[in-house]
Each structure stands twice: as structure tokens, then as C-alpha cells.
């Protein structure tokens, strides 16, 4: 696959600026039929701008795109769609009240006179799902499906569009390992049919597993395109960040202190049952398990977001009752949600205002906020966590994912918790920010905090945790020490 004539997409010298700032600077890119081409780079490297141009959602300032050797004159959505370029979005765009089949054929319904031929739509949708190995009734409404299922349906939709190029933006961010494996099978199948895939992900493991070639962007510039087997993780990371990051996890050895949290017989019908564990000061407890094993549900219950049916929560030797997050925060439990957007920050408030939100009473006199004290405390926390923003008065919605996550962590920390629960703390953030968050977690544990970390990424769990609690279908199946834990062991207990 080296002859230029074979290229399905050939991009030459693409430039795009916003308000004088170069978002894309002379981008070169080739895509061949039947290859998986990973597009790598930190947030802000220009990946999404580039993809928007490929989708026809944005017009470049200069540069050309050839499709099957032919120069594309009008780079608009309609043309690109007609050429067969489809994108699987990070955020799922489906109408919740419509069925799976109706969603797949949305906007191009099969008609019979004035009526939609539901039967045929259902039949053809079912065929598509069978093709990608998804066992699901196509008459189910979209609102009743998991994110993973929706994502697979998006792929089915792209296939039904006769896509020649499929762009996948973080397709596994919401998938369990098992579901990811299924996706990779589907990708292999697509490859054999000559479909080209542009794959964007922050998960290095899967890049090396499925990508044929890798293109790295940094600060809007094209850095390099290489065959995957010419790179390894460390060399890829250094290409992406422009410097070397040694030892991503950098876990220190610690001696755990007193028991901070003790959970006994915690249960919630249909979610989890008989959960027993302890977390110590100066310790990181990892919680592993497949999607739906009850990891997040346990965290939510401890934090007072959901009610439990039975069980005890003991904090520093005292039995406590937590009915609302307010109760939890007041007795020293902090929670950083997996769902940053809906449970993490207030988009329209500034960095300072977000950070102080859980501890505003400490920076107030009576009803009045002492703005000076608030700004001082928030700014200091923002500095400690190396939050990067044009100004701390900037709205959080305008920050990058990694910085938003740091703001949420800063908010939780400012309320001075003795236990902090981090649920998928590095989901969807770039490698540089990930590294900083890992360092921070270590630092917190070293300083005496009890930390619980929930993650779908086994390397993260293994790298960060002192002990690992494994869940399977709402039951706890093992607690492993750092020494005895391996990926295989965890998987063994997770599918128990």
C-alpha cells in the first residue's frame, strides 16, 4: 500500500486559523483502503479541527483534499457524506424515543408511497446488527440502550451508509473490555472489506493493538506518519508531548495508616450486594470490574447520590448515615464523578467559583462571600494542581477536558476530605494531563488521604493501586494486593 493511486484520501498542505491562531499548520495525511490509521495528539493538537474539515463541517483556509485521486472542489457536508465519509461521534447522536431501526434509517427512510415501510427497515436493521454481532431487538427504543450498544449501532449505521471511510473518535471510552474486543473484531471485518478507518483514541494499548499506521499531530502541526511496528509506547508519547515522560504511573511505596472508611454488607437491590472493604489513610484502593459490575453505583451510594438498601458505612471508626452529597462532603468524603459534564462542574461559572463551590461556607461571613479569601484559596489550589487557563475568571466550559477534570478535583480537595473517590479520573483526557493526575493521586495518598480509584483501564488500576477490589455482576469477587495482581488475575475475577 504505497502507490499514490491507491490512496482513498490524500490531504496536502491543509491550513486553518481561528482569530489569527493557527489550529492546523500545513497538514499532510494519507489514507489507504483497508487500513486503520490512528490519529494521535494531545487535546488541542488539532485532531478535531482536522476531522471537522474531513467531514465538511469546516472549510480550510488553504490546502487540498483528494478523494480516490480526484480533487474535491466543494468541501461541504453533503459532498463528504456522498463520498462515503462517516463519523462515529464521541457523543452519541440518537433520538431517544425512536427505535434502533428508526434511528439507523433516520433521514433516509425506506418509503412505500407516503408511508414508511417499517417492516423492511426492521429487517434490514436486524441484518446489519447480525453482521456486527450485536444481539438486540431492533424495535427497542434508543433510550433503553447502554452507551456501548448505541455506539455499536452508530457503526452499523455507518456501514449501512456504504461508508468507505469511517472516523472513530474515542469509540471505546464508554465500552467495557469485552465490548471493546467486539468492536475490534468489527474493525477487522471492515478492514477486510476495504473500508478505511481513522481512529482517534487516548488509549495507547488499543492503538498498538489495532492500528496499521500512526500519524501524530502536535500544536496544530503535522509531526510524523509511521508504521505502528516502528514505534513503541514511549516513543509515541514523546512524539505527542514533545518531551519524554518516564514512568507514567510513578507509584511510590507507602505504609498505609489507620482505617478511614469501612464498608460492611453494603447492598442495593439490582445493583450490588454484600460489599465489604476498608480503605486506609495513605492508601490507594482500586476498584476494577466490567461495565455494569456496580463500580460507579457503589461510589454513588457511599457519596449519598443514591440510596442503599442495607449495610453500614463507618468513617474513622464512627458509623455514619449519608443521605445527600452534602452530608458526605461535610464528614469528609469527596467524589470525582466519571461523568464530568453532568456531575462535575458548573459550565458557566469561573474556575475560581467552581473550585470553591463545595466549601463556600469556609470563605464567607454570614451570608456574604469573602471574595478575597475565596480567590486566594481557589487560586492556590489551582496552582497546586497546575490548572492551565487564560485567567482563573474564565468559564470552566472553555477549558480543555484535562483542565476541567483538575478543576473538579480541586473543588473536591478544597473541601479537605479524608477520603476521595475518583471514578474514571482520566477518561477522555490527554496523556500529559493524565500523567499529572497520576502524580497528583500519588501525592494525595502520600500526604495521608485515603483514595479510591475506579477505572476500566487495567494498566491504570494496576499502576496506581495498593490494593485492588474486583467486582463481578454486583458482587465482590476478590481483593488483591499490588504484588499478587496481574491483568489476567483481575480479568479472571471480573468475569467470575
Amino acid at each position: 500500500m504505497s502507490q499514490a493511486a491507491e490512496q482513498i484520501i490524500h490531504v496536502n498542505g491543509l491550513n486553518k486559523s481561528f482569530l489569527g491562531i493557527k489550529a492546523l499548520d500545513n497538514i499532510q495525511f494519507d489514507l489507504y483502503p483497508g487500513e486503520v490509521h490512528a490519529l494521535m495528539g494531545e487535546n488541542g493538537a488539532g485532531k478535531s479541527t482536522f476531522m471537522k474539515i474531513l467531514m465538511g463541517l469546516m472549510v480550510p483556509d488553504s490546502g487540498t483534499i483528494n478523494f480516490n485521486g480526484e480533487l474535491i472542489e466543494n468541501m461541504d457536508v453533503h459532498t463528504m457524506l456522498q463520498k462515503g465519509i462517516s463519523m462515529i461521534h464521541q457523543e452519541i447522536l440518537m433520538v431517544p424515543e425512536l427505535t434502533v431501526a428508526q434511528n439507523i434509517f433516520l433521514g433516509r427512510e425506506i418509503k412505500q408511497g407516503y408511508w414508511v415501510n417499517e417492516q423492511q427497515i426492521n429487517q434490514r436493521s436486524q441484518d446489519l446488527l447480525n453482521l456486527i454481532g450485536l444481539d438486540l431487538d431492533v424495535r427497542t427504543k434508543a433510550k433503553n440502550l447502554s452507551i456501548a450498544e448505541l455506539q455499536l449501532i452508530e457503526i452499523a449505521k455507518a456501514i449501512s451508509n456504504h461508508a468507505k471511510v469511517i472516523i472513530m473518535d474515542e469509540p471505546t471510552s464508554a465500552l467495557s473490555d469485552k465490548e471493546s474486543a467486539m468492536l475490534f473484531e468489527i474493525i477487522k471485518d471492515l478492514k477486510s472489506k476495504g473500508v478505511a478507518i481513522i481512529y482517534i483514541s487516548h488509549k495507547l494499548e488499543e492503538i498498538f493493538q489495532i492500528a496499521d499506521r500512526i500519524t501524530v499531530l502536535r500544536d496544530g502541526k503535522f509531526i510524523i506518519t509511521k508504521n505502528t511496528n516502528e514505534l513503541n509506547k514511549n516513543s509515541l508519547i514523546s512524539l505527542m508531548v514533545g518531551r519524554e515522560i518516564k514512568n507514567l504511573f510513578s507509584a511510590d511505596s507507602r505504609v498505609p495508616g489507620e482505617v478511614i472508611l469501612k464498608v460492611q454488607g453494603l447492598a442495593k437491590k439490582g445493583k450490588f450486594s454484600d460489599i465489604n472493604f476498608e480503605v486506609h489513610a495513605r492508601e490507594v484502593l482500586g476498584i476494577a470490574g466490567l461495565m455494569g459490575a456496580g463500580r460507579t453505583e457503589i461510589a454513588r451510594a457511599i457519596f449519598g447520590l443514591d440510596k442503599t438498601d442495607s449495610g453500614e458505612i463507618i468513617l474513622k471508626g464512627k458509623k455514619i448515615e449519608i443521605r445527600t452529597p452534602k452530608d458526605a462532603i461535610e464528614i469528609g468524603i469527596g467524589y470525582v464523578s466519571e461523568d464530568r459534564k453532568s456531575l462535575g462542574f458548573i459550565p458557566e461559572l469561573s474556575v475560581i467559583e467552581n473550585i470553591s463551590l463545595s466549601s463556600l461556607r469556609n470563605y464567607s461571613k454570614g451570608w456574604f462571600i469573602q471574595t478575597k479569601n475565596e480567590t486566594k484559596a481557589s487560586s492556590q489550589m489551582a496552582g497546586d494542581l497546575k490548572i492551565k487557563a487564560a485567567s482563573l475568571k474564565q468559564k470552566v466550559i472553555n477549558l480543555s477536558g484535562g483542565n476541567q477534570q483538575k478543576v473538579v478535583i480541586a473543588k473536591v480537595l478544597l473541601a479537605s476530605p479524608s477520603l476521595i473517590i475518583l471514578d474514571e479520573p482520566t477518561r477522555g483526557i490527554d496523556i500529559g494531563a493524565k500523567h499529572e493526575i497520576y502524580k497528583l493521586i500519588n501525592q494525595l495518598a502520600n500526604n495521608g488521604l485515603a483514595v479510591i480509584i475506579i477505572s476500566s483501564e487495567l494498566p491504570e488500576i494496576l499502576g496506581m493501586s495498593d490494593r485492588i477490589l474486583v467486582l463481578s455482576k454486583g458482587k465482590q469477587t476478590a481483593i488483591l494486593t499490588k504484588q499478587e495482581a496481574t491483568q489476567e488475575k483481575i480479568m479472571h475475577y471480573a468475569v467470575h
Binding site: 452529597p325 467559583e353 466550559i397
Partner: protein, 312 residues
């Protein structure tokens, strides 16, 4: 956030300034102290409602019961304000209490039942209208004491009492929104209710507070209206809630919550007042007045959404 807000309000100020300039070019009477005294007096009732509902709208809610609360409190206070009956503080107190209770009722039902504020306050609107008619027997309550009427038409040092109350309430509301914990929580709840809850904010209490404030200020508006026209009218205030909401929207507060300011609402209220006054001065028929007002409301929201896009 402050920075972007100030640009937005600056834009609104410019629109406001241009409209004032245009009107004053055509009618010289417009830019006189006496005319402006009248404009501010006329908008003061709508202003109180608009300030109150600004809190509600920033939390992402809506209050349609304002007009009915005006009627109930106007009638309630008027019934207690006949000459030589009770001291004037009683009708004022009872009017405020009635407004507060109706607002709290809204807040209570909304937080406990989780029914949309639109529906709940629509219900309260109808209930309130009925209550006002029941209390007054369908007739205006007139023959009010001079001390009660003083509120609506008296002056202190040459400044109408209405304007003084207007300024005082604006200052108080600005302070609540910008300087207090409650104010911050109001933005937080409107910006992202779930995240606010996860940050340890008692959402129900915040909502109860905003609807109560909105009701209380509507109560004050009802008292002042009754005092200004020397009667408590059971059909007073019909449609007032829409004028108030229009002022808030023109002032740049987002109806989806999380964003807005008291200063914006102030300009929105004045803009509506200036246009009504200007068009009356020019003797433009009310048919056109309505069209102009509608265009301005839509224009303000379009301007706002364009602003939002260029900011993000």
C-alpha cells in the same frame, strides 16, 4: 465570566442608548427630568417583578403566577387599608406575607413533586386569580387611606417613593445575586443542577428561596400597584408575568438557566419603559407598539445567542 458579561451588557447599553437618542431626536419632551421621573415610576412595578423572576430564571425555572400574586396581594392589602381602621403597616405586612406564602407554595410544590415549574406556576396563576376574585367579591376594593396611597404617589425630598423602593430593591437583589452564598448557589443550580447537588448544595432549599423571593417581590408590587391606583383590583396584573419575563430575557438572562444579571434586567425593564413612553409621546397606535415590542424581544434573544456563539 465577569468580563464577558460586561461586554454583553455593554452591547445592551449601546442599543438602549441608540433607542433613547432616536426618540429624543423626534420628541424634545423625551429627555426631560420630569419625563424620566415618569418613565422610572411607570416601570417600577414591572421592575420589582422582573428582579424577582430573574432569580427564578437563573435557576432554570419560570414563574407564571406573578400577575395573580399581584392581584391577590393588592386586594388583600387594600381590604385592610380603609381609612381609620388599621395602622398602615398592617396592610403592607399582610400583602407581603400573602406574596411570600404564594411564592413559597410554588417552591414547595416544585421541589417536592418534581413537576415542571411551568406547570406548577400555571396552576398557581389560576388559583391566585380565583382567590383575588373570592376575596374581593369580584369588585375593586376602593376607599383607601391617604397613608396607604402615599406609597404609590408620595415623594421623599422630591423623589417619588416608588422610585426609591425601586432603587432599594435593585440594590438588594444585586447584592444577593453577586455577593452572597445564595446568589452563587442560584447560578450553580441553574448552570448544572446535578453537579450542584454533587457539590453539596441543597438544591431544594435554593429553589424554595428563589420562588419565595419572587413571590415576596410580586407581593410588594401588588401593594404598590393598589396604592398607586388607589384600589385593589382583582383583575390587576393580568399578563404582568410576561412583561417581567420579557424584561429579563431582553436583559440577557438565559431562559435555560445559569446565566444572567440584575443589571441586565434593569436595562431590560428600562428599555421596555422607554419604548412604551416614546411611542406614546409620538402617539403611535398600540397596534404598532405591540409589533415593535415583539421585534425587540426577539432581537435581544438573537443578539444574545450570537454573542454566545462568538464567545465559545
Amino acid at each position: 465570566m465577569q468580563y464577558i458579561n460586561s461586554i454583553r451588557q455593554y452591547g445592551l447599553f449601546i442599543v438602549f442608548g441608540i433607542i433613547c437618542l432616536l426618540i429624543s431626536l423626534i420628541t424634545p419632551q423625551f429627555l426631560t427630568v420630569s419625563n424620566w421621573t415618569i418613565i422610572v415610576t411607570q416601570v417600577s412595578i414591572n421592575a420589582l417583578l422582573a428582579f424577582g423572576v430573574t432569580f427564578v430564571i437563573i435557576t432554570g425555572g419560570i414563574d407564571l403566577s406573578l400577575g395573580s400574586i399581584v392581584a391577590v396581594t393588592g386586594v388583600t392589602s387594600a381590604m385592610l387599608a380603609h381609612p381609620d381602621t388599621y395602622p398602615v403597616l398592617l396592610p403592607i405586612f399582610m400583602g407581603l406575607l400573602a406574596g411570600l406564602l404564594m411564592g413559597a407554595f410554588n417552591g414547595f410544590i416544585i421541589t417536592k413533586s418534581k413537576i415542571a415549574p411551568f406547570i406548577v406556576t400555571l396552576g398557581t396563576m389560576t388559583i391566585g386569580r380565583g382567590l383575588a376574585l373570592i376575596l374581593s367579591d369580584g369588585r375593586p376594593v376602593s376607599n383607601l387611606s391617604d397613608s396607604f396611597n402615599y406609597l404609590g404617589s408620595g415623594t421623599v425630598l422630591g423623589i417619588p417613593v416608588l422610585i426609591l423602593i425601586f432603587i432599594l430593591v435593585f440594590a438588594l437583589c444585586s447584592i444577593i445575586l453577586n455577593k452572597t452564598i445564595l446568589g452563587r448557589y442560584i447560578y450553580a443550580v441553574g448552570g448544572n443542577e446535578q453537579a450542584a447537588r454533587a457539590s453539596g448544595i441543597n438544591i431544594d432549599r435554593v429553589k424554595l428561596a428563589v420562588y419565595s423571593i419572587s413571590g415576596l417581590l410580586a407581593g410588594l408590587a401588588g401593594i404598590l400597584l393598589a396604592s398607586r391606583i388607589n384600589t385593589g383590583q382583582p383583575n390587576a396584573g393580568a399578563g404582568f408575568e410576561l412583561d417581567a419575563i420579557a424584561a429579563v430575557v431582553i436583559g440577557g438572562t438565559s431562559t435555560s438557566g445559569g446565566r444572567g444579571s440584575m443589571a441586565g434586567t434593569l436595562i431590560g425593564v428600562l428599555l421596555i419603559g422607554v419604548i412604551n413612553n416614546g411611542l406614546d409621546l409620538l402617539n403611535v397606535t398600540s397596534y404598532y407598539q405591540q409589533v415593535v415590542m415583539g421585534i425587540i424581544i426577539i432581537g435581544a434573544v438573537v443578539l444574545d445567542s450570537l454573542n454566545q456563539k462568538s464567545n465559545s
